[in-house]
C-alpha cells in the first residue's frame, strides 16, 4: 500500500513511518499542508494519513481542498484532537476515518486496511462468503456450513461487519463507531459482551472457533475451518 502522510511532528512521523514500513507499506511524508496537497495531486495514493493541527493549514481545510481537486483517496485523520466532538467535526468535514492520538498501532493498521477495502468497494456484495460463513445481506440471514444461525438485528449487523472485514482485525472502536454509531468508549465492557454473545451463536455446535480475540486490539473472524 502506498500512503501519503502529512504531519509536522518529526518524531510522530518517524514512529508511524517505521510502523508502516514494517508492515510492508510505502510512506511518503510531507511536513506542510500545502506540500501535501501538491503531492496528492501529482501522485496516486491508496490512503492519505493527515494530522489536523499543521503549521500552515488546518487538516479539515486540507480534506476540503483534496476533495475539491478530485483526489478521492480515503483520508484517515490522525490527530491529538481526539475527543468525541473532534471526531464528529472531522467526519462531517469529509474525513473517512478519524483516530485520536495516542493510538494503538494495531488499531491504526486495522483501520487503514478497512479504509482501503471500503474504497475498493468490496463491501457491497449481496452475499458475502468467507470460509464456512455466509452472510446474505438482503435477506439478513447468516449461515455456517449451510446451517442457518438465528441472529438478532444488531447481532446480524455485527456479523455482517465481520464478514465485510473478513480475515482482518476489527477493533472495539471500529465496532462502536460503525455498528453502534458511537464515537466514544463506554466504561462498561459492552462491546466484549456483545461479541461474546455473537461468538457463542456462531460457534454453537461447531468445533472450530469463529472469532478470535487479538490481544489488546480487537477481534478477527476466522474461516471457521
Amino acid at each position: 500500500m502506498k500512503l501519503l502522510y502529512i504531519e509536522d511532528n518529526a518524531d510522530a512521523a518517524a514512529d508511524l513511518t517505521s510502523l508502516l514500513a514494517r508492515e510492508g507499506h510505502q510512506v511518503v511524508w510531507e511536513i506542510q499542508g500545502a506540500d501535501g496537497l501538491r503531492r496528492a495531486a501529482l501522485e496516486p495514493f491508496d490512503t492519505i494519513i493527515l494530522d489536523r493541527m499543521l503549521p500552515d493549514m488546518d487538516g479539515l481545510q486540507i480534506v476540503e481542498r483534496l476533495r475539491e481537486s478530485g483526489v478521492d483517496a480515503p483520508v484517515l485523520m490522525l490527530s491529538a484532537l481526539g475527543r468525541s466532538s473532534n471526531r464528529v467535526e472531522g467526519l462531517e468535514a469529509g474525513v473517512d476515518d478519524y483516530l485520536g492520538k495516542p493510538y494503538e498501532p494495531d488499531e491504526l493498521l486495522a483501520r487503514l486496511k478497512a479504509l482501503v477495502r471500503r474504497a475498493e468497494g468490496r463491501t457491497h456484495s449481496a452475499i458475502i462468503i468467507y470460509g464456512q460463513f455466509e452472510c446474505h445481506v438482503k435477506a439478513r440471514t447468516a449461515f455456517r456450513r449451510n446451517v442457518h444461525i438465528p441472529l438478532s438485528p444488531k447481532e446480524f449487523e455485527l456479523f455482517r461487519y465481520f464478514m465485510e472485514n473478513a480475515g482482518e482485525v476489527v477493533t472495539r472502536d471500529m465496532l462502536l463507531r460503525d455498528v453502534w454509531k458511537m464515537n466514544f468508549d463506554p466504561q462498561t465492557n459492552v462491546v466484549d459482551v456483545n461479541i461474546g454473545r455473537l461468538r457463542r451463536k456462531l460457534e454453537n455446535g461447531f468445533d472450530r472457533p469463529a472469532l478470535e480475540t487479538i490481544w489488546g486490539s480487537g477481534y478477527r473472524l476466522t474461516r471457521g475451518e
Binding site: A80, G82, R83
Partner: protein, 474 residues
C-alpha cells in the same frame, strides 16, 4: 413516590435550546404607530363630542331667545292694539324668514281649542298655561322649536321656528370632524410607518448581529454611526458580540492546544513503551509496561472528559449543531447495547420508554449522557440488583437502581468534578462521568438531579421549567 431532591446548578439560568427569539409579527414600532393612531382618534372623538354638544346647545339657546323675543313683541302688540292688531301682525310675520333661514310659524287659539289665526293646523303637546317650550314636530311633519303661552284668559299663542339650517350646519361640523379624523389617521400612519421602518431597520441590524453570533456565523461590525441611543446600543452590541466571539475562539484554541500539547508527548511515550514491548522476548513479563500504557490512556481519557465538560458548559444556549433527536430510539438502542453486560453481571436492566420522545440536541452527547448514567449504575449495583431506564415526554429521563445508593454527605456534591463514590474493586474512576452528564444536560436546556429513594439512587433529567421551585431551592 417521594419528591425529587434539590440538586440544580445555580450558575446557569433556564434556557431552552431551539427557542426562537425573533418575533417579527410583534414589532414594537407597529405597536407604537397603532397606539398613536388610537390615541389621536380618542382625543379627536372627545373634542368633537364637546364641540358638537356645545354647538347644539348654542343653536337651542338662539332658537329659544328668538321665539321668546317674538312672543314678547306680540304680547306688547296685543296689549296696545288688541286682538285685531295682533291678527294683522301675525299675518305679516308669518311670511318672514330670518337671516339664519328660520321660518316663523304661529297659531292663535281660544282656550277651548277654537282656531283663531296662524299657519299651524293643529295645537301640539305644549301647555300654554305653563308657558312650555321645546323641540317638536308639527302635524304637517315640520320639525320646529316652539313655545306656547297664554296672552289673555281667552287667547293662547304658539310661536315656532323651523331649524333645518341649524341641523345642516350641525352635520357640516360633524363631517368636518370626520374628515379631520381621517386626515390625522392617514398622516399619523404614513409618518409613523416611515419613522418605524427606519428605527426597525436600525434595530434589525443589531438583532441580525446577535442572530449571526448565536448561530455561530462570523459577525461583521455593526455600522450605525448615528449619534443617538440606538447608535450607542449598536456600538455596545458590536463590542459585546466581538468579545463573546473572541472568548469562544480563545476557549477553543486553548482546549485544542492543551489537548495537542499533552497528547503529543504521551503518544511518543506510548510508542517508546511499544518499542520496549517489542524488544522483550515473548515470554517476558510485560505487565508493568502494559500498566504504564493503560495509565497513559487513563490520563488522556481524563483530559478529554475535562475538555468535554468545559466545551459543553461553554455552549449552554448555543443553538449550532443541534438537530432533532429521537430520544426513545436512542434509549432503546442503549438498552440493547447494555443488556448483555447487565445480564453477565447478574443485574436486571429494565426499560420504560415512551415512544416518540424528541429533543433538539447533539445525538452523540445525549448517548453519552445516558451511557454515563448506565455505566455508573453498572459499576455500583451488585449482582441480583436492578437498573431501570425510563424516557417520558418532557423529556424526562430517569436512571434508577436498587444498589447501595449515594451517601447523604456526598449527594449535593455528586455532580462536581473529581468527586468519586464508593471505591469499587477493579474499577477506577476519575469522578468526571456525572460532571460531564450534568454539563451535557445543561447544554440541552435540561437539568440533572438526584431524587430521593428508599434504596439505591435515582437520577432524574428534565427541563428546567419542570423542576419545582422547592426542588430548585438549593
Amino acid at each position: 413516590m417521594s419528591e425529587p431532591e434539590t440538586y440544580v446548578d445555580p450558575e446557569h439560568g433556564a434556557y431552552a435550546p431551539g427557542s426562537e427569539v425573533a418575533r417579527a409579527g410583534s414589532s414594537i414600532f407597529n405597536k407604537l404607530v397603532r397606539g398613536a393612531i388610537v390615541f389621536a382618534l380618542v382625543a379627536l372623538a372627545v373634542l368633537a363630542s364637546v364641540l358638537l354638544w356645545e354647538n347644539w346647545r348654542s343653536a337651542e339657546r338662539s332658537l329659544s331667545a328668538t321665539v321668546d323675543t317674538d312672543i314678547a313683541g306680540l304680547v306688547d302688540i296685543y296689549a296696545s292694539g288688541g286682538e285685531e292688531e295682533l291678527l294683522e301682525r301675525l299675518e305679516d310675520r308669518s311670511i318672514l324668514v330670518s337671516l339664519e333661514g328660520r321660518q316663523s310659524r304661529y297659531m292663535l287659539v281660544r282656550p277651548g281649542g277654537e282656531f283663531v289665526a296662524g299657519n299651524i293646523d293643529a295645537w301640539p303637546e305644549l301647555g300654554a298655561s305653563l308657558s312650555e317650550e321645546g323641540f317638536l314636530q308639527l302635524a304637517d311633519g315640520t320639525p320646529v322649536f316652539a313655545r306656547a303661552t297664554r296672552i289673555s284668559p281667552d287667547l293662547d299663542l304658539l310661536v315656532a321656528r323651523t331649524y333645518e339650517r341649524d341641523i345642516q350646519a350641525y352635520y357640516r361640523l360633524v363631517l368636518t370632524f370626520l374628515g379631520a379624523a381621517i386626515a390625522i389617521v392617514v398622516a399619523l400612519w404614513l409618518i409613523g410607518r416611515t419613522a418605524a421602518h427606519r428605527l426597525r431597520d436600525r434595530i434589525e441590524v443589531i438583532a441580525e448581529g446577535f442572530r449571526a453570533a448565536e448561530s455561530g456565523k462570523d459577525v461583521s461590525p455593526l455600522v450605525d454611526t448615528h449619534d443617538d441611543e440606538i447608535g450607542e446600543l449598536s456600538e455596545l452590541s458590536t463590542r459585546a458580540i466581538g468579545r463573546a466571539a473572541s472568548l469562544a475562539r480563545t476557549h477553543r484554541h486553548m482546549s485544542d492546544h492543551i489537548a495537542h500539547e499533552i497528547r503529543t508527548p504521551l503518544t511518543h511515550l506510548d510508542h517508546r513503551l511499544v518499542d520496549a514491548l517489542r524488544s522483550l522476548p515473548p515470554d517476558a513479563d510485560m505487565s508493568a509496561i502494559d500498566k504504564g500504557r493503560q495509565e497513559i490512556r487513563s490520563v488522556v481519557a481524563m483530559l478529554d472528559s475535562l475538555l468535554d465538560i468545559a466545551a459543553s458548559e461553554g455552549r449552554v444556549g448555543d443553538l449550532t449543531g443541534l438537530e432533532d433527536v429521537d430520544l426513545s430510539d436512542l434509549a432503546a438502542d442503549l438498552v440493547e447495547l447494555y443488556s448483555g453486560s447487565a445480564e453477565e453481571a447478574g443485574i436486571a436492566l429494565e426499560s420504560f420508554i415512551t415512544p416518540d420522545v424528541h429533543i433538539m440536541g447533539e445525538r452523540m452527547q445525549l448517548v453519552r449522557l445516558i451511557s454515563n448514567l448506565l455505566d455508573n449504575a453498572l459499576k455500583y449495583v451488585p449482582e441480583g440488583g436492578t437498573i431501570k431506564l425510563s424516557v417520558a415526554k418532557g423529556p424526562v429521563i430517569q436512571v434508577s437502581d436498587n444498589g447501595p445508593g449515594i451517601e447523604p454527605a456526598l449527594r449535593p456534591l455528586v455532580f462536581d468534578r473529581f468527586r468519586t463514590g464508593r471505591a469499587v474493586k477493579g474499577k477506577t474512576s476519575h469522578g468526571l462521568g456525572l460532571a460531564l452528564a450534568r454539563a451535557i444536560a445543561l447544554r440541552h436546556g435540561l437539568r440533572i438531579g438526584l431524587a430521593d429513594t428508599d434504596k439505591g439512587a435515582r437520577f432524574v433529567i428534565k427541563p428546567h421549567a419542570m423542576w419545582g421551585t422547592t426542588e430548585a431551592a438549593s
